[in-house]
């Protein structure tokens, strides 16, 4: 596997996997028909893979392939929104702290350190039911039900601190480069220096970090859904595993129900990892 990656084949496979997942997330209905529910379930409960149901059925007879493809959308959307929020918070925080330096920097980094220590998953466990009970459970926001928006926000506000640290240290070193001094001497404002001179130089760092943040977001979303904080009307891969666990399918040996959603997660995570490793190598080749 490692040696395949060196050949570049790993990256191609990774890109293909992610492409397939994105297609599944965009047009699930075109691939496997509308999301099945208890009423529209097409098979017998807990039946193993067959010609009619390639990946078997769940405890109420829904097709596992149908569920898995539809779940791609929610897993990816939640991960994408949560990591965007986390990256935006972390980048803004890091750039401001690194650019301001001095006391502001010290204070802001203390706050970041605090969030770094906070147990993100436990905090999410505590905040999610609270926020779900306080907010309504009706309608959708940007295609996600409110309970899932809560998950997005919880992941976002608990996972930005690592990004803030990395961005800050890079900003500190950029700030002392001659081009920043030159820009200041010709009268550029702080906002202009940050937007035109510092942020563009942070892009590659931010992209590499975004991939790792997406992975972290997928993990937290999966774990939260697995303990029952997902939304039954918009299942994700974690939600599927929650129902598989509730139905006792691991102990009953219903491997198709357990393996499928988990394998999808592993494929996406490993693909994202191999792409993030690809980043720095590709850049180095370009500059030399």
């Amino acid at each position: 596997m490692i040696c395949l990656m060196e050949l570049g084949l790993g990256r191609i496979i990774a890109a293909l996997v992610l492409g397939a997942v994105i297609v599944a997330a965009l047009v699930p209905t075109a691939l496997v028909g509308p999301l099945e529910n208890i009423v529209t379930a097409t098979g017998a409960p807990m039946s193993p893979p067959s010609a009619a149901h390639w990946l078997g059925t769940d405890e109420v007879g829904r097709d596992v392939l149908n569920l898995t493809v539809h779940s791609a959308r929610i897993t990816m959307l939640v991960a994408l929104f949560a990591s965007s929020l986390s990256m935006a918070l972390g980048t803004a925080f890091g750039v401001i702290a690194g650019y301001a330096r001095g006391t502001t920097d010290a204070l802001m980094m203390r706050v970041a350190d605090f969030f770094l220590v906070l147990p993100a998953f436990v905090l999410a466990l505590v905040l999610a039911p609270l926020a779900i009970e306080m907010g309504g459970a009706q309608g959708t926001i940007m295609g996600l039900r409110p309970t899932l928006m809560v998950t997005v926000i919880v992941i976002g506000i608990t996972s930005w601190a690592g990004t803030a640290r990395i961005v800050r240290s890079q900003t500190l070193s950029l700030r002392s480069r001659p081009f920043v001094d030159r820009a200041r001497v010709i009268g550029a404002s702080h906002g202009r220096i940050i937007c035109r001179h510092i942020l563009p130089n942070l892009i590659s760092l931010i992209v590499a970090n975004t991939i790792l943040t997406i992975v972290a977001a997928i993990w937290i979303e999966t774990a939260l859904s697995f303990v029952g904080l997902g939304d039954p009307f918009q299942p994700s891969w974690g939600t599927m595993l929650f129902y598989a666990q509730q139905a006792g399918s691991a102990g009953a040996g219903a491997w198709w129900y357990v393996v499928t959603p988990g394998f999808a997660i592993v494929l996406v995570v490993v693909s994202l990892y191999s792409l993030s490793h690809a980043g720095p190598v590709a850049r180095r080749r370009k500059t030399t």
């Binding site: 605090f114 220590v117 691991a250 357990v258």
Partner: protein, 320 residues
Amino acid sequence: MFLLRKLASAILTIFVISALGFFIFRAMPGDPERMLIGAAQGITPELLAQIRARWGLDAPLFPDQFLSYILSLARGDFGYSFKFRGETVLGVIGPRMMPTLLFVGTAQVIAMVVGLWIGSRAGWRQGSILDRFGSSLALAAYGMPTFWLGMLLLIVFAAWLSWFPVTGLANIEQTNNFQQWLGIAWRSVLPIATLAIAQTGQYVLLMRAAVVEVSKEDFVTTARAKGIGSNAVLRRHVTPNARLPIVTLISLNVGFILAGAITVETVFSWPGLGLLTVEAMRARDYPVMQALFLIFAVSIVLANLVADLLYARLDPRVSR
């Protein structure tokens, strides 16, 4: 001085976390008095006022209620559980402590020993068979959700091979003879193996990267040039330096270890703090959740403190 500074910052963090806990749980839906009384009928305003006065809920949130909260925390008083009526939070949490410590501790020791050994060998001889297999397996183990690995092990070893029972240890306290202890030890193999495998993956990847980084250093070339054997260079020159970044990374990952433990306990119905967290969350048992949140947060802060001190010991340059 270094030690004092770290200690002070740890204490400050714990205080802020406690304050955060107070305000999060005060924002919980449902007034505390309604939670205490339940849906009882015929509560007159006078009775309600009496109850509020008795529980100190008529005092201002800040500073009165906040101060009494901090004081009771300092005394180790977390209040009463909603779900288990009449029991104190400590009484609910206490018996769950030991199973989790045993579970997480054993898995960590196994993962550290195996993972660091494989990782250093793999990094030292890049491209070797051990490196290719070890790194690929480690990436896979690291990439999968820990609880999913547990479910897979359950399918293979409990459902198919029937080596292990499907259920966890429901009654760990009622054991007194050797036979029962053996049974418990046997049942704990799968959950511990799950957490250990997942963590091993992480340690292999971290240690491999650290060893690769250190072996590029000049002093490694010098040691080689002096004619020291390859294994001795790895043991005496590379590994001690590679340990440094590992310590930091592990301390940052304690949160993930906890998340893994919570979900794995759910899979195996392991009667520890993780399963209790999920049960309390489902029953909206806020006092228990609050106490668990504080326990987890404080243990992460302490782990970070230990890592800092360990780092200073392993690398004397830091404390200067």
